[in-house]
């Protein structure tokens, strides 16, 4: 058994930021199924939001309002307020740590426009902002290597808990295949999103719902899973991301007729409307036959920006276009389509990253010693739709807060008792089941069908009929999964085994997303029902909480915290 004061699962921005908060006083383990600097935070391109006011006036209040409105009034405003207030400080802290940022001529952090933000407040490092912050935090991790032990390429199987208090995790060293229990006084999940359940996604292969499903299996509900963000500029067919910064810098969207179709959908903000609106606009154009040559993509036009600006501000995007589709955006138009990008929902936490089990009688019951931050968590600051550049900020702000909350908790907490062999046996049985099933089903086909099902039936536009079909198809895939055929039964770096376990997690997640989408009979933010095209505040101005109830899913509600801004109609 391995013992640490605190175990952080996931080493993206949130996980590393949490580790830095704890490492001065505690023995910290940070565990990742990839090497920390390969975490998916690094793929974020466009920026990180903060009302620094380096490019004209700005205020945290405006940032807050934009975030509330962008989230279609489903975000909890107490959390959003703290979050927007904290933004400038955390950016300055990153800068002091050594994080690089593009600069204004006066040497300040440069800021640019982004969808849904009324002011240019995206701080950025060219078009590799996530990469820049990820590496800056990784540098700090290396600097503090005496008190932070990195478990690189370790896979987390399950959360150990008695239902009310968390005691550790069961993990495997991918390299050796050795399974271990990690006993900890506190556990922080920063395990990211689950875009990989969809066929067209910007997400890394690693974004597979391991964290959220481990929480779910331990009795933690998942909040607002129906809210999945489709990013408007995914590379056609591949889903690879072309940053919204491309539009922030002046890029336009054209349909098959060569028309800037955003005029129809968001005449004021045009291409810089929030992502849910732009993605729906693209999907409508495509569905109505106005894609390019009638196909399922539209064009992103950057040609008028000029080579110099593209090379200064968007060099990576240019290279991606050249490498992946042979299109140089300096001269030609990029083919794009909506791509599953971000999960607004996740493990419910309070404003300090403390995981909350339920809210009976208006009182929150925490799972003691268990914290979550970043994309895997739902605070909720993004509500029904996240604004671009708000996710990096969320990871840093709530990574820090979860770290601090854990620090506070560790002042009094000790190790909870665990039954090591029982916890390990549960997971070993799962592995054994996979090895022994020796069935005839191809895991690859199951995975492919799941992804296609989710993109076509639970994508940008949804309706009751499709969602029911989706749920039934996913359940069918879940049973086929149990009859899968494995080829590699070795212990050494068995990536096939982990892919299978990831698929198991994703199949559960797909069911949860679709089931929660089915019950939300309204359209709000990233969740758009053609059969209920309007937002319905009377019946649905609340968060969804999906609980595990045996093999069934049980959905409960939690009210939205509204402080400053009462819901009004959302137009751009």
């Amino acid at each position: 058994m391995i013992k640490h004061d605190v175990v952080i699962v996931g080493s993206g921005l949130a996980g590393m930021r949490a580790a830095l908060e704890l490492c001065k006083d505690h023995d910290v383990a940070i565990l990742s199924k990839v090497y920390p600097s390969r975490s998916h935070s690094g793929a974020a391109q466009g920026g990180i939001a903060a009302a620094l006011g380096n490019s004209g006036d700005d205020s945290w209040q405006e940032h807050m309002f934009d975030t509330v409105k962008g989230g279609d009034y489903l975000g909890d405003q107490d959390a959003i307020e703290e979050y927007c207030k904290a933004a400038p400080r955390v950016i300055y802290e990153l800068e002091h740590m050594g994080c690089i940022f593009s600069r204004t001529p006066e040497g300040k952090i440069a800021q640019r426009s982004f969808g849904g933000h009324s002011k240019p407040r995206a701080c950025f490092a060219a078009d590799r902002t996530g990469h820049s912050i990820l590496h800056a935090l990784h540098e700090q991790l290396l600097k503090n290597s005496k008190s932070i032990k990195i478990y690189s390429e370790w896979y987390m199987h399950s959360l150990i808990s008695d239902g009310s208090r968390c005691a550790g995790v069961v993990v495997s060293d991918v390299r050796t295949g050795a399974m271990e229990t990690m006993h900890a006084k506190a556990v922080i999940f920063c395990t990211g999103g689950y875009g990989r359940v969809f066929k067209i996604t910007s997400n890394a292969f690693a974004s597979t719902a391991d964290g959220v499903i481990a929480a779910f299996n331990a009795g933690v509900p998942l909040e607002d899973p129906e809210f999945v963000q489709y990013h408007p500029s995914g590379l056609w067919r591949q889903g690879i991301l072309f940053s919204e910064a491309a539009r922030g810098e002046g890029g336009t969207l054209l349909n098959g007729d060569g028309k800037r179709f955003m005029e129809t959908y968001a005449p004021t903000r045009m291409e810089l409307a929030p992502r849910d609106i732009v993605s729906r606009a693209e999907q409508s154009e495509i569905n109505e036959g106005r894609g390019i040559d009638g196909k399922d993509f539209v064009h992103l036009d950057l040609t008028h920006l000029g080579e110099a600006k593209i090379m200064e501000r968007l060099p990576q995007i240019r290279q991606l276009g050249i490498d992946f589709i042979g299109v140089d955006c300096v001269k030609d138009l990029l083919p794009i389509q909506p791509t599953a990008h971000y999960s607004m929902g996740g493990i419910p936490t309070d404003i300090n990253g403390q995981v909350i089990l339920n809210h009976g009688d208006g009182k929150a019951t925490p799972m003691e010693g268990y914290f979550a931050a970043g994309e895997c968590a739902c605070v909720s600051v993004h509500g029904a739709n996240r604004l671009g550049t708000n996710s990096l900020l969320e990871a840093v702000v709530f990574g820090e807060r979860a770290g601090r909350a854990a620090l506070e908790y560790l002042k009094t907490a000790g190790f909870a008792p665990i039954n090591e062999s029982q916890e390990k046996t549960k997971v070993l049985n799962q592995v054994e089941e996979i090895y022994q099933s020796d069935g005839s089903e191809s895991y690859n086909e199951v995975r492919t069908e799941m992804k296609e099902t989710m993109t076509s039936l639970c994508g940008v536009y949804r309706n009751e009929e499709n969602l029911k079909e989706c749920i039934s198809a996913v359940k069918d895939l879940q049973s086929r999964f149990k009859k899968g055929k494995v080829t590699d039964k070795g212990k050494l770096f068995n990536t096939e085994l982990y892919e299978i376990m990831e698929l198991g997690n994703m199949l559960k997640m797909a069911e949860i997303i679709a089931t929660s989408a089915l019950q939300r009979k309204e359209s709000r933010g990233g969740h758009s029902r053609t059969d209920f095209p309007k937002r319905d505040d009377d019946n649905f101005l609340h968060h969804s909480l999906v609980y595990k109830n045996g093999e069934e899913l049980e959905i409960k509600k939690r009210p939205v915290t509204i402080t400053k801004y009462k819901p009004v109609e959302r137009t751009y």
Partner: protein, 313 residues
């Protein structure tokens, strides 16, 4: 059908490595990573490699394709086909192989650690950001694009023969801080980087520039560190002495003086180093293979001297 020929290694099953061929129908738009995935998911689930973002930013999927390191996700497979319609895929070089295309990055990361890869600045930070001009930012723009994929490390010609060399990735990371206007430790850094195994052990082969999937291009970053080291007066090593002697020679004659360069590079007080020059010097002398004793300058030397003067050297 094209053939992907993959170097397999699984010590759980077999001691040695071997090549295995897979037939794949490469549709346009298929990256090398897509092709590997197709093999893993449809033909042999035991094929093992790393991957994650599949958009050339996480640095996981470095492999050798046709003998040269690359990111599998960044290359269109059809562009890698040789004339027999084959792509040969092997694990990265200069690292031990764990299984198939997965290599052990332990030493790679240890070397990154050695260059103290974090900003050093003991001053109390200002209330807001530290100022840095766009020009200052530009000095670290390229090195900060490194994704630590190990492609440069894999193909580095020096590492092939000397594993004490810090290698291109760690040195590019070092430049990220040597060049950072906010870092206070420049002199200490360039001193350490001028030690054996550091910048002056780079052999200029340019492999790292060629393999780097990003603008980081370590060789150019190494040269930037050299410039700073020379500027800061870190001259007490053969590399620096060599550069200074070279420059002096061109300044005085427009051309390289091959007689003085080796001696000045070793340093006049470096008896051991000077003695090392004796065998090759003697061999060349005996064959009459020596530069003229009186070094002849180029014509129009004054113009060269004028340029030196105008550019303040």
């Amino acid at each position: 059908m094209s053939v992907i020929k993959i170097k397999r290694f699984n010590p759980e099953k077999r001691k040695d490595s071997y090549f295995q061929e897979f037939n794949v129908d490469l549709k346009p738009g298929t990256t090398l990573l897509d092709a590997l995935n197709e093999i893993k998911w449809e033909q042999d689930g035991s094929l093992t490699y790393r991957m994650s973002c599949r958009s050339a930013i996480c640095g996981s999927c470095g492999v050798k394709a046709n003998g040269h390191a690359t990111l599998a996700c960044q290359k269109q497979a059809e562009n890698l086909l040789d004339k027999n319609d084959v792509i040969t895929v092997e694990p990265l070089g200069n690292m031990p192989v764990i299984k198939d295309l997965v290599t052990d990055f332990k030493q790679f990361w240890e070397k990154v650690d050695q260059v103290k890869p974090f900003l050093k600045n003991e001053q109390a930070p200002p209330e807001k950001e530290r100022n840095q001009s766009p020009e200052q930012f530009k000095l670290i723009d390229d090195s900060s694009t490194c994704i630590m994929c190990g492609a440069c490390y894999s193909d580095c010609n020096v590492l092939e023969v000397d594993d004490k060399f810090l290698g291109p990735a760690a040195l590019a990371k070092a430049q990220r801080f040597v060049g950072d206007s906010r870092d206070e430790d420049t002199l200490e850094r360039v001193k350490e980087l001028s030690e054996p195994g550091g910048i002056w052990d780079c052999t200029h082969c340019g492999e790292c520039v060629e393999r780097c999937p990003k603008p980081a291009q370590p060789f150019y970053r190494i040269k930037e560190i050299m410039t700073v080291a020379l500027e800061k007066g870190v001259h007490n090593n053969n590399g620096a002495r060599h550069a200074l002697s070279f420059t002096k020679s061109i300044k005085n004659s427009g051309l390289l003086n091959e007689n003085t360069l080796p001696v000045e590079s070793m340093g006049f007080t470096n008896i051991k180093g000077l003695l090392e020059l004796v065998p090759v010097g003697l061999r060349m002398l005996l064959k009459g293979k020596v530069p003229p004793i009186i070094h002849k300058p180029c014509d129009e030397l004054n113009d060269v001297k004028r340029i030196f003067k105008e550019l303040d050297q």
